[in-house]
């Protein structure tokens, strides 16, 4: 196990893509201490910021302690191992990650799991905007793997999602699943408006309150249960909407009936169909 303890609180943004099991596993303590990281516009060595210790032989397990809100790019492009962060982290956590696991006992910044391809990220706090989304301009977001957030997420979670699953046990901001193509997003509590805007495929499940559904979604059915992944099934009634019709999309939007009585006017469209 490799442990990194932040020495002092940080004043400037830090880019530390080297904090990942891939980069650290075959290095000696001295080599790790001399790894270069950007602090503001200056290059520094890892040991100037962190107290580094190696215990035992499990090199692919890393624990990081301290408030890393200003540290970006932790676990970027990692392919294996386990990275646990005891504290908050900054932007770009696990960007383009290809495997392994990241656990955060704290909050994370924007673009967490940006464009990730595989692996798991579990966050016990809240996370920022653009969860799993690509950077500006790109049109392919998260394409595999799993992100679990026990707190809340901000706007545009799962934008341009290609595959994989995002589970949010708190609430979500606006535009969840913006332009998503495939994959699953599950939101347990309140969801912001414009959920699934421009989606072309995939599945979004909202178990909490949703103020309104976009007019470009059409009601398809009233289901009495919905599957999240594998064998996990929620047994309560859900409205199923299809859309986004503005994009000729075939995405599925499941909205809880129980928490959203104000949406029951949609049911008359379902009945109308039956009469015909």
């Amino acid at each position: 196990m490799i442990s990194l303890q932040l020495k002092n609180s940080l004043k400037f943004p830090v880019t530390a893509k080297c904090i990942s099991p891939d980069a650290l596993q075959d290095k000696s303590l001295e080599e790790i201490e001399k790894l270069k990281i950007w602090v503001g516009n200056k290059k520094k060595e890892l040991r100037e910021l962190f107290k580094i210790e190696i215990r035992g032989s499990e090199r692919e397990v890393i624990h990081v302690y301290g408030d890393l809100t200003k540290v970006r790019g932790i676990g970027a492009e990692m392919t294996m191992g386990e990275l646990t962060i005891h504290g908050n982290t900054g932007m770009h956590l696990g960007e383009e990650m290809k495997g392994g696991k990241i656990i955060v006992y704290g909050n994370t910044g924007d673009w967490t799991g940006s464009m990730m391809k595989n692996g798991t990220i579990e966050i016990y706090g809240n996370t920022g905007n653009y969860l799993g989304a690509p950077y500006r301009g790109l049109d392919k977001g998260m394409s595999g793997g799993k992100i679990i957030v026990h707190g809340n997420v901000k706007n545009e979670a799962g934008a341009y999602m290609q595959n994989g699953i995002i589970r949010v046990y708190g609430s979500a901001g606006q535009f969840a699943g913006l332009r998503m193509k495939d994959g699953t997003i599950y939101i347990q509590k309140k969801c912001g408006e414009r959920v699934g805007a421009n989606m072309r495929g995939g599945k979004i499940i909202v178990q909490g309150f949703l103020k309104s559904v976009l007019p470009t979604f059409t009601i398809e059915d009233l289901r009495d249960k919905v599957k999240i992944e594998n064998e996990e099934i929620i047994k309560e009634p859900f409205y199923l909407f299809l859309g986004d019709l503005a994009e000729d999309g075939k995405g599925k939007l499941y909205i809880s009936k129980k928490k959203n009585p104000h949406l029951n006017f949609y049911e008359k469209f379902l009945e109308g169909e039956k009469i015909e």
């Binding site: 690509p134 950077y135 500006r136 301009g137 790109l138 049109d139």
Partner: protein
Amino acid sequence: MELIIRNGFVFDPLNKVEGEKMDVFVKDGKIVEKVDECKAKVIDASGMMVLPGGVDLHCHIAGSEVNAGRLLRPEDHFKNFERKTRVTRSGSGHSVPSTFTTGYRYARMGYTTIMNPAMPPLEAKHTHDELNDTPMVDKGSYTLLTDWWFILECLENGKIEECVRYAAWILKATKGYAIKIVNPGGIEAWGFGRNVQSLDDPVPYFNVTPREIIRALCKVNNWLGLPHTIHLHTNNLGKPGNYITTLETMKCVEDLALKDKPVIHITHCQFSSFKGSNWRNLRSGAEEIARYVNNHSHVTLDMGQVIFTNTTTMTADAPFQFTLHQLTGNKWMNHDVETETSSGIVPFRYKRKNFVHAMQWSIGLELALLVDNPWKIFLTTDHPNAGPFTAYPRIISWLVSRKARESTFKKISLKAQRKSLLPSITRELTLYEITIMTRSGQAKVLGLKNKGHLGVGADADVAIYNLNPEAIDPSKDYKEVRKAFRNAVYTIKNGEIVVKNGEITKHVNGATLWVNLQTSEQKLFNEKLKEKFRDYWTVEYENYAVEENRLKISNPINVEAKI
């Protein structure tokens, strides 16, 4: 500064020098007969090719549409960047690089003169500002005159002389180099959500047809005696079956030809050589186009060769861009430039395994190989529409080597492999022909008297490549050719060494080339123009023109116009 380039294999097609071992002398930015051998710096070019600096007559490198492309595509810049060095600035971008980087990349490939082909008159100031910031190369810009209301109105009333006056005025006001025509009639029709389908389809609300516009502007071009011909992007571009339109376009100005001189340049011809009725039965029309061009001397073409990469398409042909947006579902930008023109931008990825893209790749090469005379077809990618200019060395390797073509051919869509004409073509271009296609021919058709050759009096723009034409066989060692053309050993601009071994050694600013038309003053015309400005434009007449002092280095080409 004096320079001697010793013992290189000189290729200078305009002076009929083909790979002769000789010395080239440079003094004060010009090629001269002799220099003082004691004082001069000597470059040993033994075993290397010495060529005139490269000329590119069609690359979108500056202006509002290029800049909008940069804004639209942060992902294009995200991972493709260059750090600053002691002499160069930093920059980024793959298909739409920033201005400084554009200049550096051209210089590294041995190019010294480039032309920006689409400048909406209203955006001329922006275009020239960006050209000012494009270092290392001489540059110019073609003024878009197609669907300018003044021209359309004149044509509607049959006043060709007035049309000539307007054209002369706008070329001078925008510091343009040539007349660019894009989808004549179609751009104006796009203002009403429509397009024109053929050469005889009238433009809505103007009683003129594309045929009349092309013929009129061709006459205007002859009347003014501009150095370049009209530079035309055809109607129906990028539509299956459009080779018929292209042939008709070439035919419609046949009678306007002056002796053997070309009067029309069909640009990025690959996009205009599609046969078939839909995308599924797309075939190559390269054979028919090439046959016509081989038999007529009034036409020149450039390739618009497709490269399999991620790029950005940008043209003034807004209806075409809208079609492309609908086809791909990619993001799209559209702009209407008041009474002048329009434009559109869509990111695009050319894929090997896509039938249509693979056919396009094949058509571009077919055109270049089937047109017998290299003075009639030039190497371009219509940067960045069919691919970035940095791919030129790759195209050169395809042209000089059948083996290189085959190695790419094996990887393209199987259906395209069956339908392509490429396997039947055995021709391999020589390095002499490549020199014509990449510099001498382009300089000739642009009417640049001091560029594209190494005769006495020419501008000392020289490119030296590490390629020994006696030692290698380009058709076998195509990888060597590609490598050599990618990075020039030396690029000399105005008699100064600016690139050495593919690294920029000196930052220089190139001149802006523009046509300074000398016309007789006519007070009445100016009054009328001012009046129309008040009616049609958001910009006042007084604020419209680009002053000469706006250009960092101005290089006017004086032309006596007969009006």
